[in-house]
């Protein structure tokens, strides 16, 4: 991980295609050398493919996506906003348009598929405020300057007080009719909203977005991104049910609404599910 910033800086100076290729190769080799990661990848491939040939192909695609998705999220291989924009397909934007006309909207993302979804939405004309612990490493600013600019305002949090204050700020953004994007499965927040069993692994859904949604009554749209060839397809799903005054009924309603969306995604794109396939159990994650 420590070698990643200089590597990204060097890759940024290479032509796009070879730079992406080099990042894919590095991601693949790093996973191969990390025996625990390699073992998890093989187990995921075994759970989602039948026959040795299919399993091998899934394993290769899964590990190649580590580098591909990082390159996509950082704009490596897409040197300017226009070339990035050409590769983005937005599905379900009418849902977002309809709700954004009426007030604040929360977009609920997951660590599945290529990153950089807020930047993609920003380039499509939706100013999205994001929040989170940010990248776990520092990237040379020029490597992603335009991607960061496209993404819109970002609230960084690192501990309990900054998270609480960040949620308060997001609440204000929503009350003023803004669009907020939060991930449901981040690991920096210990509290769970609920667990969601998916093929191959259980997703632990965090409480931050859930608490904010209940507190503000904001319509919440699950968003998933897939990468098909070089195209990033951002799918905005129908909104979750409105908050139920009863906490447990609300929890169950959100779980039931998210389950089919995420199960379908895992079945269609097992090679995109890097967090489910490769992240260690939380107790052992450094």
């Amino acid at each position: 991980m420590a070698a990643l910033p200089p590597l990204l800086g060097a890759l940024r100076r290479m032509p796009g295609g070879p730079a992406r290729g080099a990042l894919i190769l590095v991601g693949f080799l790093q996973a191969f050398l990390d025996r625990a990661c390699w073992g998890r990848a093989r187990a995921w491939a075994a759970a989602h493919a039948t026959g040795p040939g299919d399993r091998r192909r899934l394993l290769v695609r899964l590990l190649a996506n580590r580098g591909r998705f990082l390159a996509t999220a950082l704009g490596i291989g897409t040197p300017d906003p226009e070339s990035f924009r050409r590769l983005v397909v937005l599905e379900g934007r009418d849902r977002l348009d309809a709700l954004a006309r009426r007030g604040g909207v929360m977009l609920l993302g997951f660590h599945l598929g290529p990153g950089g979804t807020p930047a993609k939405l920003g380039l499509a004309g939706y100013p999205v405020t994001t929040a989170g612990a940010g990248l776990r490493f520092r990237v040379p600013a020029r490597s992603y300057a335009w991607v960061g600019g496209a993404r819109g305002p970002a609230i960084d949090w690192s501990d309990a007080p900054s998270r609480a204050a960040g949620l308060h700020r997001l609440g204000e953004v929503l009350r003023h009719g803004g669009i907020v994007s939060l991930t449901a499965d981040s690991r920096e927040d210990g509290r769970l909203a609920f667990e969601l069993p998916l093929p191959g692994r259980t997703l632990r859904v965090r409480a931050g977005w859930f608490v904010l949604r209940r507190q503000t009554g904001t319509p919440t749209l699950p968003v998933l991104t897939s990468e098909i060839g070089r195209r990033s397809v951002v799918t905005i799903h129908p909104p979750l049910p409105d908050p139920d005054p009863d906490l447990e009924r609300d929890r169950a309603a959100c779980r039931e609404a998210l389950a089919p969306i995420l199960r379908d995604y895992v079945r269609r794109f097992p090679e995109h599910c890097l967090s489910l396939a490769l992240w260690p159990d939380e107790e052992t994650r450094p």
Binding site: I155, D159, A160, P161, S162, R163, A164, A165, G166, L167, H168, R169, D189, G190, R191, A207, G208, V211, Q215
Partner: protein, 89 residues
Amino acid sequence: MDPVLRRVIEIVTQVAGPGRTPAEVGPSTPLAGGGFWLDSMELFEVILACEAAFGPVFGGLDEDAARILHTAGSLATAIRAGTQARPDA
């Protein structure tokens, strides 16, 4: 005891519950570790409850969260400052 501090302590005690409220509570009792042991969601609850009690007093909270949300006393100080800074004060 100052009325703002007293109300803050009432709010924090209610959010933490009797199981996590220290035997002796004062302005220097930490809201998180070593005091009420509030997590981020509970601190958020405290912020909302304080706004319900005192009005919108937390402009710029995200720039100084660690200091403001450190103890009951620091939270009460921030509320007093926010109340005085309001145009209707």
